[in-house]
Symmetry: C2
Subunit: 189 residues, 2 copies
């Protein structure tokens, strides 16, 4: 039943987004009453956290493919590309993971741990690059934050429809070529 609710919730959540999904929507999707959800979950935010984790597992599984890329800098550049593609293909997961704020303010027990792992991976990757002579004059943590920001910025503008101000370019062109601009800067650093 726990899984059944989660399946219904996932469908509606990813269809309508967090705010526009109601408990009654979820319940009717699986042909149960709304109250039942509160027997299996504490509240809406707990369901959110399950899907939040799910999203990170999905992203991390896609990033895992890059383990075979030997050169850390090449891997770093590819991380961004995978990240952006993930946002394009999973706009709503991305929203839940990086933009929806309400449920993050009161994180579950270890609810944000998987996000922490992802950050640590990025930090390690930066340090590995530094080990090979790249970005040597930079503070690893600030640099990692900057990397995440640059990539997230592209995805966030996309997810919140702020790409409309760049006419004559599709979202895909903007994101991919915009990121390659950033990569060009990285290569010179």
């Amino acid at each position: 039943m726990h899984k059944r609710i989660l399946n219904g919730a996932r469908k509606i959540f990813l269809e309508k987004g967090y705010e526009q999904t109601s408990m009654r929507n979820i319940a009717s999707e699986i042909n149960y009453s709304a109250g039942i959800i509160y027997f299996h979950f504490k509240d809406k935010s707990e369901i959110f956290h399950e899907l939040h984790k799910e999203g990170f597992r999905l992203l991390l599984s896609q990033l895992k493919v890059l383990d075979k890329v030997a050169d850390p800098f090449e891997r770093l550049k590819a991380v961004g590309r995978v990240f952006i593609q993930f946002a394009q293909e999973n706009k709503d997961y991305y929203n839940l993971m990086f933009i929806v704020e309400e449920p993050v303010k009161a994180p579950q027990a270890g609810g944000f741990q998987i996000a922490q792992e992802a950050i640590n991976h990025l930090l390690d990757l930066v340090k590995e690059c530094q080990g090979k002579g790249r970005f040597k004059d930079m503070d690893a943590e600030y640099f990692a934050f900057m990397l995440l920001s640059a990539i997230h910025g592209i995805c966030a503008l996309f997810c919140k429809d702020r790409t409309v101000n760049f006419v004559n370019k599709t979202d895909d062109e903007l994101m991919k070529n915009g990121y390659e601009c950033f990569v060009t800067l990285l290569e010179k650093g």
Copy 2:
């Protein structure tokens, strides 16, 4: 009365954010009934658009100070700093302007025009830099999008409490030093 509603709305909006503000909240703030708002505004989204414009006017007025900076690249770097400071000091305006999505999907007549102007300013600034030999091998539009993304990413992570994963650093340290990392990259480009 139009202004009176807007004043009440601004207070509650910037206090509680878009989603958490109710028409009844706004009405009781100015000691009127909820219905009156619908006599002066079409709906909640119309109020949003007024504040959205207001936010852009505020940001643009802060950016105007930079007109006295002669060198375009110095001005470009300063734009980011002003942007970030604006987000820190006006978290909720920033949310309305760049993150809240619902009302942007159905923009009012010219409701997004002021945002368009801001983008055009950035684009001109990039081209001015290129005129002085900077970023010559880059496409101006993609480069401007990348710039906005990098800066917005910093602000968006901050506004949505995704800075918590970087321990031992305050938000202010992360944002300022993170941005300076980016500036270092720009200087090498």
